[in-house]
Amino acid sequence: MSTAEHDRGRETYTRVEEGYVAMQESPDFQELRRRYRGWVLPVAAASLVWYFAYVLLTTYAPGFMSQKLVGNVNVGLVAGLLQFVTTFLVTALYIRHADTVLDPVSARLREQFEGDHR
């Protein structure tokens, strides 16, 4: 939390700069960053893993992907359409997370900052 103490690169800050550094070090901001990164980084990683699982199965397990499930619809096509489903799902979940968990904190911090630095 106090990493900005060493290696600041410069000794003197303007008042607004001090404001940003103070805000960055505040527990509320640290919490906001944790709530943001703690959600988006794992979800983005999982989405990419799932996408590449699809790509790699298509490439190296064509026999599996070609198995027919219903009529002419095979495993590969269902897996491809599931990519659409998961993309829509992640989008909806993120909106909920952002609206309920992130926005209230970020709005409060923004008002606080802009109240201090007019």
Partner: protein, 532 residues
Amino acid sequence: MSVLAQESTAVGSPTLNIAIFLAFVAVTMTLVLRAGRTNKSAADMYTGGAAFSGRQNGVAISGDYLSAASFLGIAGAIALTGYDGFLYSIGFLVAWLIALLLVAELLRNTGRFTMADVLAFRMRERPVRMAAATSTLVVSFFYLLAQMAGAGGLVALLLNIQDRGGQSLIIALVGVLMIVYVLVGGMKGTTYVQIIKAVLLISGAALMSFWVLTRFGFNFSEMLGQGAAAGASLDPGAAYGANGTSKLNFISLALALVLGTAGLPHILMRFYTVPTAKEARRSVVWAIWLIGLFYLFTLTLGYGAAALVGPERIAAAPGAANSAAPLLAYELGGTLLLGIISAVAFATILAVVAGLTITASASFAHDIYAQVLKRGNPAPGAEVRVARIAALVVGAVAILGGIAANGQNIAFLVALAFAVAASANLPTILYSLFWKRFNTRGCLWSIYGGLAITLVLIIFSPAVSGLPTSMFKGADFSWFPLANPGLVSIPASFLLGYLGTVTSKEYNAAKYAEMEVRSLTGAGSSREVTHH
């Protein structure tokens, strides 16, 4: 063969096609002229004063993103190679999660006009802006090539213009038209064009998909079966399954598609046309729903074209794979539907090309001219004037490039633009937003290194020379086996960004604090939006 070609080129009525297209131009031009009246400052020119709503911008993003490659290219790729062609749709869509989760809001909060605003935020400004502007121009150039090549192929089919000279003339006309849109309408006018085009394109694709399904009694499986019987395989491997190299090529393409979107400068710039990060988020959500819906239709369009038109007839038509969707329209609804769908395809090209032109000219005028050459103090009005001249130059280059690339598969050309964006832009954007230690040297190594590696690998790939399908058919100077460079160039660029950073001591704690606080809360960013 010549009988086939004769038959397929005689589709539709050129007069009707031209009439529908001119109607589109007339309507959009009126709107653009109105929008152009309030087009004075750089903020108006680049972002329409950041005054669009999330929903408007979301529709415009889908209009900017669903290019001729998506409509003509993917339909053609599925019609000719079946399942493997569907990867484009999936990759182009999943890619939006990166933009939604990691980029859109942070970028909106941190920057103002261009991608370089964000990248240069806590770095040494001039070299980073120069680098970001360079890669913006290169990505835009590749993307423009694809769209202009699409225009050439489409014209060949619709107006039955067979000789290269005639097609070149049409490409030039498309180029001139888009320059007018950009010069007169700026970002506001361009956005209106993209919104109209998105509505036309998505409803056109929906109409055609519905129509295709009626021909199979709404039996999706039956349509797939008939498409497969005609030659569009339902199983993986038709296009990329031949050997180890072609399989790597598939993975390389998949990587470039999914990581390219969040590095496309013309998409990033659209996030600045809304007033807040929350609106930027809303626009991406709208875009994801619309784009996802459209890509679902590509499956029906592709297999439908295979079943109803047939891969041989598509491959033999002028414009080859790119003509699958127009030929399908003709098969379904005759001359009128072909005219409408072709006008939609033209509108698609025009809107995307206008978006690319405005991005490239903004990057030149704002980053290179105003910030690098004039050190942030251009004479009043000079930046907008330079942006207009830049739009003219970009248009001219696009016309020449498009004439040279005429006849290439446009989905493939766009994939190259994605590879450049994913290599030169995305690593820097992510590092810059998420890695505290990242600095100027890392930034420059990643952008220039990624750009150079990608370009060299493309030039010496089978896409450019050595194969009957290459850009230069007669020559063979290829030594890199993959047609898409992403598999090598994207990790290399991430690595270069890392190495550059750890070998330099530069670190600006105050600027990093400002960037991080601004990116997550928007604190301070609203001060710069002067029109609200």
